[in-house]
């Protein structure tokens, strides 16, 4: 069965290019433009993977979305790949792993993400789970 990926990003072009790449690679893609829309779709669409932008309308909104996902038992196990443009500039102490309760994402990739890197990561995360 085709795996479903949820893209949450406030940049319409990032959503556009990533969904084009993922669809081209054979995935199904749903997208959300805001954190709250993303949470709704995570529940309603039950994606196999979530690709989440770290900073949306406010600093760290992506982290908050990730926390909310982890709190909901229905979707808590969904792997999260976080895209960040701020890894270097921001003092976020980026820790990886579902056990890190304040920042429960599985993987980080820095924007702009190389196409192959993104596809490799998505492939390996989907097959680890």
């Amino acid at each position: 069965m085709t795996k479903k990926i949820l893209l949450i990003d406030d940049d319409v072009d990032i959503i556009e290019m990533n969904s084009a790449l993922l669809i081209h690679a054979g995935y199904r893609v749903v997208s959300a433009f805001t954190g709250s829309e993303g949470l709704e779709k995570a529940v309603s669409e039950k994606p196999d993977l979530i690709i989440l932008d770290v900073m949306m309308s406010s600093v760290g909104e992506g982290f908050e979305v990730a926390r909310q996902i982890r709190k909901n038992p229905d979707i808590a196990q969904t792997p999260i790949l976080m895209l960040t443009g701020v890894n270097r500039e921001h003092p976020f102490n980026l820790r990886v792993g579902p056990d890190a309760d304040w920042n429960p994402v599985d993987c980080f990739l820095e924007k702009p993400v190389q196409k192959d890197m993104l596809l490799d990561k998505v492939f390996s995360m989907l097959n680890d789970h």
């Binding site: 406030d10 940049d11 319409v12 072009d13 990032i14 556009e16 290019m17 990533n18 084009a20 790449l21 081209h24 433009f33 805001t34 829309e37 900073m55 949306m56 309308s57 600093v59 443009g85 701020v86 500039e89 921001h90 924007k111 702009p112 993400v113 190389q114 196409k115």
Partner: protein, 491 residues
Amino acid sequence: MKIEQADILVVDDELGMREGIRRLFASQGHRVDTAETGRLGVEKGTLREFDIYFIDLKIGDIDGVEVLAEIRKVYPEAICVICTAYASIDTAVETTRLGAYHYVAKPFAPEEIQLVFDRALERRWYILEARRLRVEQERRLLEVSREKSRIRTIINAIDDGIVVLNQQAEVVLFNPQFLKLLQLEHDLTIGQSIFEVLPDQFKGVITDIFEQKDALKAIKQEIVIQPPAKLVVMANSTPILDETGQLLGFVSVLRDISELKQLELLKSQFVNMAAHELKAPLSAIQGYMEMVLDKSLGDEPDIYDGYLRRSLERSKTLTTLINDLLNISRIQAGKVRREIERLIPAEMAEATIEFFKNEIHKRGLTTELDLDKTLTVDADREELQRVFTNLISNAIKYNREQGTIRIAITSDGRYVKISVADSGIGMLAEEKERLFEEFFRAKNYYTRNITGTGLGLTLVKKIVDGYAGKIDVTSEYEKGTCFTLYLPMVM
């Protein structure tokens, strides 16, 4: 150590005695006054203070003991020599009890009384000298206390916190500002160890100072009392050395640098936001370019046209963003050179509508104008133009297809009122609140395809503020938004 010219009073009813003593001492250069009765003796002797009194014990009218007592009452340190022919132990005891200096039995030889006189005069000298020293000491004490209070007043008036410590780190001196800056609730006691009261962050500084005894130097350190930047002090601690270089203690001067720290924090937040906003379009452009070059979606060339158009669009936004950033930084640095001229806002509004006519046409928008062309304002043309451009371009971007743009320029007598209203997507209350924040952009279903820098309205507000004007916003989600500007009217 000598009184060259002593004032002497002789109280005796015997003329021979009076004259004898007078002559003896006057010849030595002293001034001698006499009184032949006890009453006159008391009168003269209490009117001013003589150096030496010679008092006869048996005078006609009142007793010499009484004269002695009266004089000593007024001048407790008066040197009185009692002279009498009726020498007895009792009177000697009595007069000594009353403070007589010495006792001479009549008749006496001149050498005898001279000896008593010399010793009495020496005694008098000591008394006067002691009195002088006492006065001088009092004056000095007063001076010292005045000096101390002057220093205290100065130290208390200083806006920086000051504490002086001795070698044992005990408080020697401090001012109220010191307590305030370290948020110490209780007063300090002089002599109290500073470690008992200091916040932990500051203890390290003091310990460092005391431990670096070989290489004594001033230490400057920032101490965060209330994080992140609510209360930050800069502690400048300097050793106090004596003339041989021995450590006596330390003086620490604490300066409140919270405001500076807050500005730094704001600045770094702004830089972070700006970096993020600059990076976002670049990420999009890079991603698209890579897809186009790699032909990531296949060989069909047309499928990439949209990506190229979006890349161009995003690179234009980037240029606008950089221009906006430069403009904001110029306004903030106060480097804007305004060329103030009389402008007719109605004409500028019309010109701006004309400028955007293609975009307006493309979206099928209708414009409704109510422009009073008699109204003028004094402003810089470029700045007012930017205000119109930003507001009207927003009214186009955030409108719905086939919507309307209403522009009215009216006056309330004091202000020129410029309102730009659209029938577009409107804003939520929380979005409206953050509207003028740098980089803020409403993000919802409707705005996803609209590009912008998040600085346009920030700029409009800064410009309007620069003319002592104001800007009001009313908005209803999914219905539309209206911006109203008030600029001082030229009468």
